[in-house]
Structure formats: C-alpha cells, structure tokens
Symmetry: C2
DNA sequence: GAGTGTCTACCTACTAGTAGATAGATAAAC
DNA sequence: GTTTATCTATCTACTAGTAGGTAGACACTC
C-alpha cells in the first residue's frame, strides 16, 4: 500500500544494505545499478560522487534514528522502558536480518580512510547517540529505576560500546541470539541490586 | 638490533596495518608494493591470491595472540592481573597507535563478504578469545577475586563485546583514552562490591 | 643445475566518473 | 492552443585509472 519508493530512495536503500554487509569499499555503483535495474550513469545523476551518496545515506539514517529516539522518549515510557525499546529494536533487526548492523558502526570501523564529509557525519551520529543514552540514564537515576556506578556520560559510553560489540559478536559467531545474551544483562546491571 | 624482516613478513606487516585502517576491501596489492618498494608480481609470488594473503595474515595474528595469552596465564599472575594485562595491551596499542584495532574485529564486521577461508579463521579467533576469557573468569571465580553474576561463558562474551565496542568508540570519537574509560569499570564490576 | 626471489610486461575485469543524446513533463510566450 | 524553452530522468558509450592475477626472463644461491 505504501507508495513506490523514488529512484533516489531505492538507490539509498540498496547502498545501505550493501554498506551494512561490506562497508564503504564493499560496494560499487555497478552493484547498485544491477540491483535496481538501472544504469550506473543514472545513479551519478542523483548522487554525483560516491562520497555524496554515502553522505546523503548517513544523513537519512541519522534523521530516522533521531526521530525514532525522540519518539521513544515522547511516548512517555519510563527511562527503563525507553532503554529496553532501544535494545529491542536492534534485537529485532539482527534477529530477522533486516538491518543486522548499524550503518554508522560499520563506517566507524573504516574511519581512517573515509572521506572527511562522511567521517564527520558518522562522528555526529556517535555523539548524538551518546547524548541520548546519557539523558535516558540521567532521567532514570533521578527517578527510581537506575542506580549508576559512574557518571551518566560514562555509563552511556559503556552501554553504547556493549551494543556495538554485541552486534559484532553476533556477526562473528553467526548467532543472532548472542546480541541479547550480551546486552540484556548489561542493562539489568543498571537496576539497583536486589538485597 | 632485530634481524631485518623477510619480504613475506614485511608484506604481512604492511597488509595488517592497511586492514586495520580500512578492512579487506580497503587495500590492494599495489598499496603493499608501494609501501615496501617492490612490484605487485613479487607479492603474488609469496601469496598467490588475496584470500591466501589475508588467511596467512590471520593465521599469524592468531598464533601471536594465542602465544601471548598463554604466556599471560603462565606468568602465574592472578586471574585479575591476567585480565588487566590483556586490557593494558590494547590500551597501549590504541594509545600509541601501533595497532589501534584488532585485525579480527575489523574483519568480523565484513564477515558477510569475506572469502570463506578468511571468515572461518576470523570466527576461530573469536572462539579462542572467548574460551580464554572464560577460563580466566572461571579461575578468578573459583579463587577469590571475582564475583560473577552470570555463567563465566556469558560474562566472557560481555567482556569481549565491551572491548571491541570500546575500540570502535575510541576510533569513532577519535579519542584513544575512551577505550580505558569504557573497559576499566567493566572489569572493576567483576570484583565483589565493597560492603 | 634446480630452486628461490625478483623483475618487466602484460591481461582481463572492474572502478568512479563523464559526454552527449533522447524522451517526456511542465510551463511560459505568442 | 501551438510553439518554444527548460527541467528531469534516463540511456549508450566512453574515459582514465585500478583491481587481482599471469607469463616469462634474469639473476643469485645452494
């Protein structure tokens, strides 16, 4: 029922799935062209250079992410539920292989050789995600559910690393369930110990 | 004073640093040839195909790693010290940029498009590292220093993910110190809470 | 003289990117 | 209301450069 995606959206869709699989150098204009049945030149019409294509892709990804995280907060669930929903999102993505790796985590690994315009956008995503997690942890500590050992900024960094590391392990061991096995106890540890 | 490295060792050295920077598709035979001042064809003499080159590279990396981890255990330090030494190794690598990312973690991100012979070796490294961490945690729990919330296998997976995620964050934020900020509290949490 | 290592010279396939043409839609000009 | 102009999206055909890989010659060593 949803309207047919425009060509440029299709290009970004395919490019995204190819990047998730193999990173910046893991795909070519020819791969995209073949996948959606157009010519390479048509892709250059929409995105003159590869750096521009990937920049647009990261921009779109960040916009979707920021919208999603904001709406999670505005659904007025508790901080604990917000965190759980974030984790559940990735659990689902990895489980059904729809988006089995964060685009920006993938690109972050290749940081040293990314075009500047792409690298700065990826860095921006990491900053935003860290801030979102910090604010959720802060809210959770102020109310009841969380007890933080460290400053919320630091706990947020630890959580983020755990999520990205868990994605990597799920991929390395070829075991989607491993993601939850790693991340769930990590957020459980934020709750005050049962005495 | 150490003997000049053989050509094939030099090739692996350069290839390793290029993989760490940009992954499997992030380097070419020409890059290696330029870096050590020989021709592409000479590299093919030592490593006929790229898949063989990277396979040899991962084999060498795994051998070094397994030797290093074993010697850590045999230096008869306490499990807590063994774990700390492991973390300190990466802290130093990232700090002085000598090896600012685990070769296998880098390649694991590209798993879906790696040649099978490479992918299976990378998976092997993850299995071995998980086993080593498990055995250290197990020893630490049997003696005094660690109190584990979960089964040692699971705690080992959590720790490994944290380390790899921390490498990624250090790179994404361009902040080598971030690695320790993330990992240190994670191993501190393994010690029994002060009561 | 059999290996070993390196070279020059080459190959085919693919890379990102460009040039120029075409077809259809839109809209203003007369 | 037809003409003229512009825009958008696509195409075919091409470029220069790079990818991984090969063939064969030359030397040096054991």
């Amino acid at each position: 029922m949803k309207p047919v995606a425009s060509t440029s959206e299709q290009i970004l869709d395919v490019a995204q799935s190819l990047i998730v699989a193999g990173g910046y150098n893991g795909f070519s204009y020819a791969d995209i062209a073949d996948a959606i049945g157009i010519r390479k030149a048509s892709i250059h019409h929409h995105f003159p250079t590869k750096a521009e294509l990937v920049s647009a892709l990261v921009d779109r990804y960040r916009q979707q992410t920021e919208l999603g995280l904001k709406s999670l907060q505005e659904q007025s669930a508790s901080p604990a539920d917000q965190l759980q929903s974030y984790v559940d999102f990735w659990k689902a993505c990895i489980g059904n292989a729809s988006l089995p790796f964060c685009v920006c985590a993938m690109l972050a690994g290749e940081m040293p050789m990314l075009p500047d315009e792409v690298a700065s956008r990826v860095r921006g995503h990491f900053h935003h995600l860290a801030e979102w997690l910090t604010s959720v942890l802060q809210a959770g500590a102020k109310q009841h559910p969380f007890r933080l050992d460290k400053r919320p900024e630091q706990e947020a960094q630890m959580l983020m690393a755990s999520v990205h590391g868990a994605m990597l392990s799920a991929r390395a061991f070829d075991d989607p369930g491993l993601f939850a096995v790693i991340v769930e106890p990590q957020i459980a540890k934020l709750r005050p110990p049962v005495r």
